[in-house]
Symmetry: C2
Subunit: 354 residues, 2 copies
DNA sequence: CCAAATTACTTAAACGTTAAACCTAATAGA
DNA sequence: TCTATTAGGTTTAACGTTTAAGTAATTTGG
């Protein structure tokens, strides 16, 4: 026997298919008695609506799409940051009766690959949440002119139907740098992410403005750029400290890079936080477990995902949510930062270690 | 203007809807010339098939479901283990033209929540992959009698349409214990996961059989049980080492618990690996970054996910894949294990530290 | 040269649902 | 008492696709 349909119930109860449909959908024009009979039989036959059929006629699928872009090595799903965001997004959308479909980013836009929007259209996806979008993504223009609502993480797009969620990176980094300055550091370097991520620009802005506000001079040789990974952070740190050995503090634009800095420092014989203070960004689980545990900026990841779902759904309902929502990232002070050690500068140690 | 449909193309080309459908699907009974015209117009109108309509008539949605169960704190998506498995699963299914829908596990089976299978039926999901299923899950019997193929991770179900993927836990743990024994350890303890995970039983079996094979006596007081988390592992280790301070090696059934053991050891002043050797399980990213880096069993996570997709799809196609596929977990030796230190036993250190 | 087969289509039906329009009997309002 | 309304339905059509069953024109085989 195949699946039970409205027709099966209708026949068994002795009413029309429409009556069953309306009863189950809670319309008031079905008598209390028939309604009860219908529900009983539906239960008995373990009726599950065929959502494909419903979608076809209502033109609404009840599906929201998730794109986890940049899924090479250590990115995307396997990035320690993504999990909680996705959890929040999923919870937020399930609460409103939606389901989630996950799409793989088809890398080369040349061949037969479709744009994100086209992928959505086939499945009648009502809105999409994009994580890991970069400024050089080939489908950006496509997204801007989307007719379904799009929420991006960390990357405002300025389209009619595009929205974004993210942290207030500028003030977050400002706070981190201030924290380091408060501890007496004056040679504060930044290991930033690549410029194709728009957070990188914001975080740099936070760094610059903090320096200005604190009366510290800006030195371009204290700025390094990496790819948000451990290896990249380590590499960037090592070349930078070689150039400018008088650094006593590092702000890294991701915890992974901060962990890379820690690794690099260990190799050089620098003791964190005694010789070098390190601040990360994200507060991934690993951050609290490194030695020393990382001082970092906690992004409310779950809340970010949840907010994305909220915006998407309200836009789907024809409302006009704010085009950009910024949540606050909180500085969490742990063991990787401390008062600047005036006696023994990092410089000396580095010279020794080499 | 709304979406382009087959009808739009048909009118513009001057053929029937069927002709367009068949041309686009590659049937041979459309002339080369009309086919080309159809393709050109379809392209021009940026036609995207309405998959809901297709699903309705073919009774196949082209969707596979993913259930990431146990999504409390640190579990599910945010578990460092899940990401790569999901990446593999997604890649495997996209390659075959499928899409992935992710379902939230509705915890209490009492209220109005539906079984995993029912969730699938509504969306005509063709098969599902379940991660994090426990032996005490309320929907187990439902799953066993499923009419759509189900692949579980790490948990064989013995149903007509159920399959499972996982690692060969028994021989993996066997290798880990042998590694410790080879280093001279004789008091080897196990911090296992909770018994509701079937891997726990298998890992315990590996532990027992290794002990037997190596001629080491089994001592129940060297067995602890925790919840796979860092905190749980630490707690379990601390109470165990208090009871039996002569332990010189620990096998933990997850890297997170192993990291907890490391933390506990640090607090007691035990030096790893000098005073205590520790082996984990999973090879999560964190494992290589702890200090010391963890010796652990590497699960081929990506491959596990990919295999799940492969099995699911072949079962969807009416084939009969093996009901259980076990991949090999490889021992990766890092800094957390070393030769047993005969001079200074852990016992002495613990006594001192307390 | 005619029947049979092939080519290139078309028509009709179906998938399971919802929405709009319609209907009938009972009830309410004047 | 007659009409207007309401309650409780039913009938019909539509959503966009695929598939089975035609059909007319052309080609092939003997």
């Amino acid at each position: 026997m195949s699946r039970t349909t409205l027709k099966d119930i209708a026949e068994k109860v002795g009413v029309s298919v429409t009556a069953v449909s309306r009863a189950l959908s809670g319309y008031p024009d079905i008598s209390e008695e028939t309604r009860n009979r219908i529900f009983r039989i539906a239960e008995e036959l373990n009726y599950q609506p065929n959502i494909a059929a419903r979608t076809l006629v209502t033109q609404k699928s009840g599906v929201l799409g998730l794109f986890v872009l940049g899924r090479e090595k250590g990115e995307g799903f396997s990035h320690p940051f993504s999990g909680q965001v996705i959890n929040g997004f999923l919870d937020g959308l399930v609460e409103q009766g939606y389901d989630m479909m996950v799409f793989k980013a088809n890398r080369p836009p040349d061949s037969g690959s479709s744009s994100y929007i086209d992928l959505c259209r086939r499945r009648m996806v009502e809105g999409a949440f994009l994580m890991g979008l970069r400024t050089d993504d080939p489908w950006i223009t496509d997204l801007k002119s989307s007719s379904i609502p799009i929420v991006t993480m960390d990357m405002p797009l300025a389209g009619e139907m595009t929205f974004s969620v993210g942290c207030d990176n500028v003030s977050a980094v400002h706070a981190a740098v201030r924290h380091l300055a408060d501890l007496g550091h004056t040679r504060i370097s930044i290991v930033n992410g690549y410029t194709q991520a728009s957070v990188s620009l914001e975080r740099f802005e936070g760094y610059r403005s903090a320096l200005d506000d604190l009366g510290l001079p800006f030195d371009p040789s204290l700025v390094a750029e990496a790819d948000f990974t451990v290896a990249g952070g380590k590499e960037a740190f090592l070349t930078m400290i070689d150039r400018t050995p008088d650094i006593t503090a590092v702000f890294a634009a991701s915890d992974l890079m901060a962990l890379g800095v820690l690794e690099g420092a260990r190799e050089l014989g620098l003791r964190v936080p005694k010789d070098l203070s390190v601040v990360g960004f994200d507060n991934i689980d690993m951050a609290s477990m490194s030695s020393p545990p990382l001082t970092t900026l906690d992004q409310p990841r779950y809340e970010l995902g949840r907010t994305a779902a909220k915006i998407l759904i309200s836009a789907c309902n024809g409302d006009t949510p704010p085009s950009r929502v910024l949540l606050k990232a909180n500085l969490i002070v742990r063991g990787s930062t401390s008062e600047r050690n005036k006696g023994k500068s990092a410089k000396g140690v580095v010279r020794q270690a080499r």
